[in-house]
């Protein structure tokens, strides 16, 4: 199980400027994370708990290449992302950080506050609140392996050490 916690559900086109506001990019990640999504939901950053799941519609993370966007979610405690589609750089960034990132075609069946268990390897999302199980698109093997290693850097470290 990759994540087990409450769902934070938002809509389409959650862009990187909303997740990592440019005005806070220069300073520390911890301060930036406190401003994550503040223009959309000012209570989000202060209310997220360890293990929670971020759920969106289409085009999650469109915009900038700034890795601070998924990293801010990760610092706040988010352990899995579920969306119908992603901005491609954000998708790579999130997986590179070791964040469980799944394409979930039926993410709109999840409601704010639902208790979820996300199993990345199986590509399943168990909604404990509704009793429903949602199927996600399977991750390509090399990405699942990288994610399981904790992201690109630990994955590369393992490969470099194995030489």
């Amino acid at each position: 199980v990759s994540a087990s916690g409450r769902a934070w559900v938002y809509g389409d086109d959650i862009n990187t400027d909303l997740l990592a506001p440019a005005a806070h990019l220069k300073g520390s990640m911890e301060i930036l994370a406190r401003h994550c999504l503040e223009d959309l939901d000012k209570d989000f950053a202060s209310s997220v708990h360890e293990g929670d799941v971020f759920v969106a519609g289409n085009n999650l993370g469109i915009g900038s290449s700034r890795e601070q966007a998924p990293q801010a979610l990760q610092i706040l405690g988010i352990r899995a992302l579920l969306a119908k589609s992603y901005g491609r750089i954000f998708y790579r960034n999130a997986l590179n950080l070791g964040l469980t990132t799944l394409v979930c075609p039926h993410s709109d069946r999840i409601h704010m506050g639902d208790e979820l268990r996300v199993d990345a390897a199986a590509g399943k999302v168990h909604n404990l609140t509704t009793g429903e199980t949602l199927t996600c698109e399977p991750l390509p093997g090399h990405l699942l392996e990288m994610m399981s290693d904790g992201g690109l850097i630990p994955h590369l470290k393992k490969k470099l050490n194995a030489r």
Partner: protein, 431 residues
């Protein structure tokens, strides 16, 4: 979708993006959907996503860069800012660069996507990664250039390679020539509306047709730049004589241009045809580039500020468009009019050819060459409740200033006409 079969064909038809990735993967051919490991010809970083983010990751890996000669650093995000964080970032970046013999280090010379080709770092057929989403701009020179984040960049710097999913190609065919007062920016804003903000997600957007053939390199760069607004992995224009001549002036000689063309019979996932002559100036309303419409829909909307800037809309051609509109006129009372040329070299060229004098005479303030207001920094940052029109690429909520500000996007022509009118205006009435 694919016409390829496993029979004994010696030549497999490929699109340009596929040819470049096949070469980068040291393969004879690749097909869309395949995941391949690519050798990187050049890695570009700026001060925000560069050494300050990747150095700790390289340290964690215990390795240094694979080939310093293939790394170019161009600082543009926090240059000119005087707060402690910004100054520390510049120092860290400068020191990291000075300890290695890099392929290039350009400090405060302008915006990376414009400085990179200007200083002769790009040529057709290259596979290039950049630590910024608008890295797609480089595709205007017949490269496959794509944006990546900091951890991916650390991986590239450590190994010289990166995995890529070979993209399907979206062919955008521009037929005919744009009318007076209409620019490449209007084509890409129109596309953002027609296929949506992620409508070319994971794809290569290849621009072709007589309308693209007729474009200058500055205009082709706009199409490639905002390919990322379509969600594309890269935007690409195959090299031709215009490319070769431009690169020759930048000190780059090209002798293998014929190799880096799409095959006529290569399959594409989708083709869109645009009639250039029939296209009106476009304006994208807050807060997304896909909220675009013909200029008359928004004409008359009052503005507080007009901004010419960013990697998208402040090259020499863009400044010339502005000069054509504002020459002999004055900016409207109560409107701030800022022009931040995309590079120091462009500023000098525009100074020498009299363009900046015309803009100043019309009431424009000329700013430093950096990302500036496009990332909410500097003199042209919008305040709460203010409305701006900008030649840049993104108008997401809060991006160019206060979260309660609003940005419209348009071509440099339309920004200039709006500055004069004091409200969004059709530039064709000002030429």
């Amino acid at each position: 979708m694919s016409a390829h079969k496993n029979d004994a064909v010696t030549h497999m038809s490929m699109n340009l993006a596929e040819k470049i990735l096949a070469h980068a993967a040291r393969r004879d051919s690749v097909r869309p959907g395949e995941i391949v490991s690519c050798h990187v010809d050049l890695a570009m970083m700026h001060d925000s996503s560069g050494p300050r983010r990747i150095a700790p990751k390289l340290e964690e890996l215990g390795v240094d860069v694979w080939d310093p000669g293939k790394i170019v650093i161009i600082t543009d995000h926090f240059v000119g800012e005087t707060d402690t964080h910004s100054i520390q970032i510049q120092e860290l970046t400068r020191q990291w660069a000075s300890r290695r013999t890099l392929g290039g280090y350009h400090e405060a010379q302008g915006i990376c996507h414009v400085v990179l080709p200007e200083r002769g770092h790009l040529r057709p057929g290259m596979f290039v990664v950049g630590g910024d989403s608008h890295s797609t701009t480089g595709g205007a020179f017949g490269c496959f250039m794509t944006g990546i984040g900091a951890t991916d960049m650390a991986g590239v710097l450590a190994t010289g390679t990166i995995w890529m999913r070979v993209p399907e190609t979206l062919r955008v065919r521009v037929n005919g020539v744009l009318g007076p007062g209409v620019a490449a920016k209007d084509i890409i804003l129109f596309l953002c509306r027609s296929i949506g903000i992620n409508g070319a997600g994971y794809m290569a957007a290849e621009y072709t047709g007589s309308g693209v053939d007729a474009m200058t390199m500055d205009e082709r760069m706009v199409l490639a730049n905002m390919a990322v607004e379509l969600g594309a992995k890269c935007g690409i224009v195959a090299a031709d004589d215009t490319t070769r001549d431009w690169l020759a002036a930048a000190g780059v000689s090209v002798d293998d241009m014929d190799r880096w063309q799409s095959d006529d019979d290569a399959a594409v996932a989708r083709e869109i045809t645009i009639d250039a002559a029939g296209l009106a100036p476009q304006v994208a309303a807050p807060h997304s580039p896909e909220n675009s419409a013909a200029v008359d829909v928004h004409a008359g909307t009052a503005i507080d500020q007009a901004y010419i800037g960013a990697c998208t809309g402040a090259k020499l051609d863009d400044l010339h468009m502005v000069a054509r509109v504002v020459d002999g006129k004055r900016v409207a009372d109560g409107v701030r009019f800022f022009v931040a040329p995309a590079s120091v070299r462009i500023t000098r060229q525009a100074e020498e050819d009299g363009t900046l004098a015309k803009l100043r005479a019309a009431g424009a303030s000329i700013l430093e060459s950096r990302c500036g207001a496009c990332i909410g920094l500097g003199a042209a940052r919008l305040g709460a409740g203010e409305v701006g029109i900008s030649s840049s690429s993104r108008n997401f909520q809060g991006r160019m200033g206060d979260s309660a500000s609003s940005t419209y996007l348009s071509s440099p022509y339309t920004v200039a006409a709006s500055a004069i009118a004091g409200c969004i205006a059709d530039p064709r009435e000002y030429l």
